[in-house]
């Protein structure tokens, strides 16, 4: 009998903490068997501000997921993959070159492992650690190779690789680990939230052709640009839905929680915004929200244009989290008028897709019906399950230790 592996993921959202449990089979199918949420505490702008409070909220989310799993399996969550996000997440591109013995020497897996290790060192800074490293290009004696298959077994003297490193501040990783430990959990691996989203809402074909994914959470907004199956560009900044609420609170002179209600009423497109027995001018609310959202979208748009990747976005722009809301979509449409805009939810069919040779984990769940088809917020935690399952199943040869996850051009 094939041995299954139980995987657990936690999305440390500023508004909601989500925990999910999946059962990974050796045939590459991943069944979602548990899901739980809790209101966040101690997290501001996607960063841990109060470890104690965050730990309490984490416990609640984990307990909810464990209770959900119980009906299917006796399992206690221990060891999780955790999301990172916010302004502390940065990215950069580095190139590494290693020498083969001679021009006639074949490029071996061992040599590529040497490159992997060098990247790990290169992307490890005094205050930052790599969370993901994506090797985007290989060159043999200066000539670019289309795929990894063209590299191994080829002859060449100088082997170069270019990689995108996604880094997080060590201080923040310590805080996350501290909160997890205080809640009785241990961190097995970290994952950038916008990378996880790519594994839950994009199809393999979309990741291959070129897709821009934008996630706007309560605490931060981030994007990833996917092409050839891997991430080529990314960005993250600590401006999110809470900033909209904060702007409303200050603009209307009301407490934050009331401002959140005003925001929700506006999002529901109510003609009259009445909260706590008081009416608020729709035009004022609209002006405050639009100014913030317009600025945020413009900011992303400027970065995308600056990076020169607009023409490579063949599959379209995919919006998750708060970005999938009408007020955000309109501005995205304006900024990316030539591209198709989509607001996908996690793709979780009730049955696994048929096996094929694409070396891709097939996620499914017969337990939740249509639940995830309308839950934009669940994309990160479910994406993390797919991400770690993919690592476990197909990427082991190319995987380094600890929190360092290395992907190559497939």
């Amino acid at each position: 009998m094939a041995k299954d592996k139980i995987l657990s993921a936690i999305d440390l959202g500023t508004q909601t903490i989500r925990a999910a449990v999946g059962r990974l089979s050796e045939d590459g199918t991943l069944e979602v068997i548990g899901y739980g949420t809790a209101s966040s505490q101690g997290i501001v702008k996607s960063r841990i501000e109060d470890q104690g409070k965050a730990a309490e909220a984490l416990k609640k989310a984990v307990l909810a997921a464990e209770n959900d799993v119980k009906s299917r399996l006796e399992h206690t969550i221990k060891g999780v993959i955790v999301s990172v996000g916010g302004s502390g997440v940065t990215s950069g591109v580095e190139t590494i070159t290693v020498d083969n013995n001679s021009k006639n020497e074949l490029v071996t897996e061992k040599l590529l492992s040497e490159i992997d290790e060098k990247f790990e060192t290169r992307f490890t800074h005094k205050d930052q650690s790599p969370v993901h490293v994506y090797i985007t290009d290989y060159f043999i004696d200066g000539i670019r190779k289309k795929s990894l298959d063209d590299v191994v077994g080829s002859q060449g003297e100088k082997i170069s690789a270019r990689a995108l490193g996604i880094l997080e501040e060590k201080n923040e990783l310590d805080k996350i680990a501290g909160a997890l430990n205080a809640s009785g959990q241990t961190v097995e691996c970290y994952c950038f939230g916008a990378v996880a989203d790519g594994w839950s809402v994009l199809t393999a074909e979309q990741r291959q052709k070129g897709a821009l994914l934008i996630n706007a959470g309560a605490g931060s907004t981030s994007f990833t640009f996917w092409k050839d199956g891997i991430v080529h560009e990314t960005g993250s900044f600590s401006v999110g839905g809470d900033h909209v609420t904060n702007d409303l609170a200050l603009g209307l002179g009301i407490p934050f929680n009331l401002a959140e209600e005003v925001k929700q009423n506006f999002i529901k497109e109510e003609h009259e915004i009445r909260v706590g027995g008081k009416y608020y001018k729709t035009r004022s609310v609209e002006t405050i929200i639009q100014n913030r959202v317009e600025e945020t979208v413009k900011f992303i748009s400027d970065m995308i244009k600056e990076k020169g990747i607009l023409t490579q976005i063949q599959s379209g722009v995919f919006l998750t989290g708060n970005a999938a809301r009408a007020s955000f979509i309109n501005y995205v449409r304006r900024e990316f008028s030539s591209l198709e805009i989509k607001t996908p939810c996690p793709i979780i069919p009730s049955e696994p897709a048929e096996a094929n040779d694409k070396k891709e984990v097939r996620i499914f769940s017969p337990h939740y019906g249509n639940k995830f088809q309308t839950d934009h917020g669940a994309s990160t935690v479910l994406g993390m399950l797919s991400f770690i399952a993919q690592e476990e199943t197909y990427s082991q040869k190319r995987k380094s230790k600890g929190l360092f996850n290395l992907f190559s051009l497939l």
């Binding site: 501001v44 702008k45 960063r47 501000e49 916010g86 302004s87 502390g88 940065t90 990215s91 950069g92 800074h125 205050d127 930052q128 501040e169 960005g235 993250s236 900044f237 600590s238 401006v239 809470d242 900033h243 609420t245 904060n246 702007d247 609170a249 200050l250 603009g251 209307l252 002179g253 934050f256 001018k281 035009r283 004022s284 002006t287 405050i288 100014n291 913030r292 317009e294 600025e295 900011f299 970065m303």
Partner: protein, 369 residues
């Protein structure tokens, strides 16, 4: 040094800066010794001529201003570098004041600061005025660009947003403009006391420079009060000076300059110091200066706190794609930052803009309540 005392030069740059120094020089006429010198620097000959400031330095070659072009302001200062060197000669402390809505103040201030600090070795501080929050976006953005470039040259920058924090909107407009002079006044008062008075508890000039050179954000405030509890009240007033989201608790160093009448009691001093102790952390270094003046009615307190949030680095920006370093300069926190929920968190700075501050305020959009 001049007469064995530090030479302080207060220099207004551009129309707004010259207005400030003219007004302050007038306020202090006959009250400061010759170690305080006031200068007005401008590219607009007529405007400069009409200023009351005693020392006037015209820069550039046209005499007609810069038409709000910052580059022309910088160019004018570079053209007249020798004149400016002459003006700065011998200065130990240079306090620059400028408005960042035009071209001269925006463009010349950085050049003058460079000449004063890098060439002259003076300690340089700048008080700069940002446009009103309801001014147009172009003006706001230009001012932010100018502020950024000045910060590259000036070690201590005090940005003040015109009109921010005005509670009674019926107040005369000119009074609102004058309110921005307070930064400079506080600094002058502080330096004047430290340099020119012998204290019962002496805070010497080198200690003041030590406090002023502590990296991180900073705040300065002044308070005056009379009566039995006057000293404690004065400290409370000084610490409550509008300083955005900054708090004394996060300060690394605090200079507390107290000027009282000779009959101040031990209890009054003790109570006042305890007020401060309750506001700071155990790590904060406090430099006390206690000065007595027979003519002083009640108590005057100046509180200068630095090294605030110095451990908090500006978050890495996705724009820069590089690891962000710690803040190079510190700002004295007079800029009211409407951060609300985020006031106790590391600010979200991207390309020099604090994105925690509401967008509609940064863009000057009026909201009907």
């Amino acid at each position: 040094m001049k007469n064995n005392s530090p030479l302080v030069k207060i220099i207004g740059v551009g129309g707004c800066g010259c207005n400030t120094v003219s007004s302050i020089e007038e306020k202090y006429a006959g009250k400061l010794n010759e170690n305080f010198e006031f200068y007005g620097v401008d590219t607009d000959f007529i405007s400069l001529k009409n200023q009351t400031v005693r020392n006037k330095v015209e820069i550039g070659s046209t005499g007609i201003g810069t038409a709000k072009d910052r580059m022309l302001g910088a160019q004018a200062a570079q053209e007249s570098a020798d004149k400016l060197r002459e003006m700065l000669k011998g200065a130990d402390i240079v306090i620059l004041c400028a408005g960042l809505s035009g071209g001269t103040g925006s463009g010349s201030t950085g050049v003058i600061a460079h000449l004063a600090a890098s060439e002259g070795g003076a300690v340089v501080m700048a008080s700069v005025t940002l446009p009103f929050y309801y001014d147009d976006v172009r003006k706001q953005e230009a001012a932010q660009d100018a502020l950024k470039s000045i910060k590259e040259e000036v070690p201590v920058v005090m940005p003040v947003t015109n009109g921010e924090g005005v509670e009674n909107e019926d107040v005369p407009f000119l009074e609102v403009l004058r309110a921005t002079d307070n930064n400079v006044i506080c600094l002058i008062e502080m330096i004047n006391i430290v340099v020119n008075r012998a204290g019962y508890e002496n805070l010497d000039f080198s200690e003041l420079i030590k406090v002023a050179s502590t990296s991180g954000d900073a705040m300065i405030g002044i308070g005056e009060a009379k009566g039995e509890q006057g000293l404690s009240l004065a400290i409370n007033l000084a610490r409550s000076t509008k300083s955005g989201s900054l708090t004394l608790k996060d300060a690394q160093r605090v200079a507390l300059i107290t000027l009282t009448s000779p009959n101040v009691s031990f209890k009054q001093i003790k109570d006042a110091r305890l007020v401060l102790q309750n506001e700071i952390s155990r790590q904060t270094e406090v430099y006390n200066g206690l000065y007595v003046d027979n003519d002083q009615e009640g108590a005057k307190v100046i509180l200068f706190a630095t090294g605030i949030n110095s451990q908090k680095e500006i978050p890495s920006s996705v724009v820069e794609q590089t690891e962000a370093g710690p803040m190079k300069q510190y700002e004295i926190g007079f800029l009211a930052v409407e951060e609300g929920r985020f006031k106790d968190t590391a600010p979200t700075y991207i390309a020099g803009i604090n994105y925690d501050k509401p967008t509609f305020i940064r863009k000057g959009v009026l909201i009907e309540k």
